[in-house]
């Protein structure tokens, strides 16, 4: 077929991107940023039972200069935000961020003045890991998924094109909420009385999506004024 047919045994062909990705993903050094209870699970992940060292991550870097991965474990307060950003800026490229737990990802239960509502307000996040706190197995899973992302990361001009494409995809993405602003009053806290009678007053199961909400968002746009 091609060049591969003519090669002597013991020679493999690959691309620079794949070699670089393989080298990068095989020894990711995490700069742990333990902020709250998620840090306990993070420490447990490094322990002998879950053994982060299996993935070439046994050295938790205590200096950001020699770290590739920042694991933001816990809620980020407004006061900690500039510190976190400074640590991130001190890390050498290429660098990745895992937002561990719901507090780091979205503010979680702390929807108030003191907590940053998601660490992606401050640093770009590669993996959002849900859970309160996530189990060490979940953190390992997120690290494995990040390895896959690092392995397949493009280089140079291809990387720039990839970033542009991702940005365009985000711009094209439909909004979560169709109407312009927050609905006046607690619309979803409780179904209205007429809705109750429609559903025969049966309690709605948690996983069960009502029929009128199961349709996709763009189809819902015409019916958006229902609220």
């Amino acid at each position: 077929m091609g060049l591969e047919e003519k090669l002597p045994s013991g020679i493999l062909l690959t691309t620079v991107e794949k070699v670089a990705g393989y080298a990068r993903k095989s020894s990711v050094w995490p700069a742990t940023f333990g902020l709250a209870c998620c840090a306990i699970e993070l420490m447990s992940t490094g322990g002998p039972r879950h053994d982060l060292a299996r993935f070439g991550m046994e050295r938790a870097s205590n200096t950001p200069r020699q770290a590739d991965l920042m694991i933001v474990a816990g809620r980020v307060s407004q006061k900690m935000a500039p510190v976190l950003r400074q640590i991130y800026d001190q890390m050498a490229d290429p660098k990745w961020v895992i937002s561990m737990g719901v507090c780091a990802s979205s503010g979680g239960m702390f929807n108030n003045y003191a907590i940053v509502q998601g660490v992606d307000h401050i640093v770009p996040v590669d993996i959002y890991l849900p859970g309160c706190p996530p189990r060490p197995e979940m953190l390992l899973d997120s690290i494995v998924k990040l390895h896959d992302k690092i392995q397949n990361m493009k280089l140079g001009a291809n990387r720039e094109a990839e970033i542009e494409e991702l940005e365009q995809a985000r711009l094209r993405r439909l909004p979560l909420v169709v109407d312009a602003g927050p609905a006046p009053g607690p619309v979803l806290a409780q179904p209205a009385p007429d809705q109750l009678s429609q559903h025969g007053q049966q309690p709605r199961q948690p996983g069960q999506v009502p029929a009128e909400q199961a349709q996709p968002v763009h189809a819902n746009r015409e019916a958006g004024s229902r609220e």
């Binding site: 006061k79 003045y113 003191a114 979560l176 909420v177 607690p186 619309v187």
Partner: protein, 236 residues
């Protein structure tokens, strides 16, 4: 029948209670629609400010006597400095008039029979409904020598939120007073460097106060908003 539940005492306590301000009306604190629970006429009043009579029990009488002895020798007397003594749930609290707080703390620390060597910190409390004494600072003291505990409480009006600093007597109060200032806006006169410690340096306001807005953002789900906590419907 003890003297405390005699009919005239009970009537007196009831009258005292009736003179307190109303904290809540109705059963569920509804404001918008009528209260259909049948408790619409209910008036829940605030508990009257308590004050314990002697004997206080336990080691509390001895502590009060020794403190009165120490205060009598120098500075203001016990009755002048201590506004009220409260014994509740086996704990002694001395309400101190704020101008005499350093003198009281000095006696409590230096008198050998008291020897409260350790101040465990300053806690701020905000009572918006107590006119003229909205802001409180609470000091927990511990005597390692005698294994005794004592609580000091001072109050200051919101219009003049000044309390003398205890850093001279108890140096460990340094950061605690900064924290209390940060969260409640109590100004500790005589503190070496009263700056913010928990909130960012350029923060506006004092978030520990009851009237400080909780903040928060509306959370988006697919097809719905959940408003921030303060804008949701409240059930009292």
């Amino acid at each position: 029948m003890t003297s405390e539940n005699l009919p005239d005492k009970a009537a007196e306590a009831g009258q005292e209670r009736l003179s307190e301000q109303i904290a809540r009306t109705g059963m569920f604190g509804t404001q918008t629609t009528g209260d259909t629970s049948g408790y619409g006429g209910l008036r829940v009043r605030r508990a009257p400010v308590p004050s314990s009579p002697r004997p206080y029990g336990s080691y509390f009488d001895e502590v009060a006597d020794r403190l009165a002895g120490g205060m009598g020798r120098e500075g203001p007397g016990f009755d002048e400095a201590i506004e009220r003594v409260i014994v509740d749930r086996g704990e002694l609290t001395l309400h101190v008039r704020r101008e005499h707080l350093p003198a009281v703390a000095k006696v409590l620390r230096d008198e050998p029979s008291l020897a409260f060597e350790l101040c465990l910190g300053v806690s701020g409390v905000h009572y918006p409904w107590e006119a003229g004494r909205e802001l409180h600072a609470v000091y927990a003291l511990l005597s390692i020598t005698h294994n005794r505990r004592l609580r000091l409480e001072v109050s200051a009006p919101d219009a003049d939120p000044h309390v003398p600093s205890l850093v001279d007597t108890y140096p460990t109060c340094d950061w605690h007073e900064r924290e209390t200032w940060d969260f409640f806006g109590l100004i500790f006169d005589g503190h070496p460097a009263l700056t913010r410690i928990e909130m960012p340096d350029d923060w506006k306001g004092h978030p520990g106060r009851k009237d400080y807005p909780l903040g928060g953002i509306p959370v988006e789900y697919r097809g719905a908003h959940v408003p921030p906590p303060e804008d949701r419907r409240a059930y009292q």
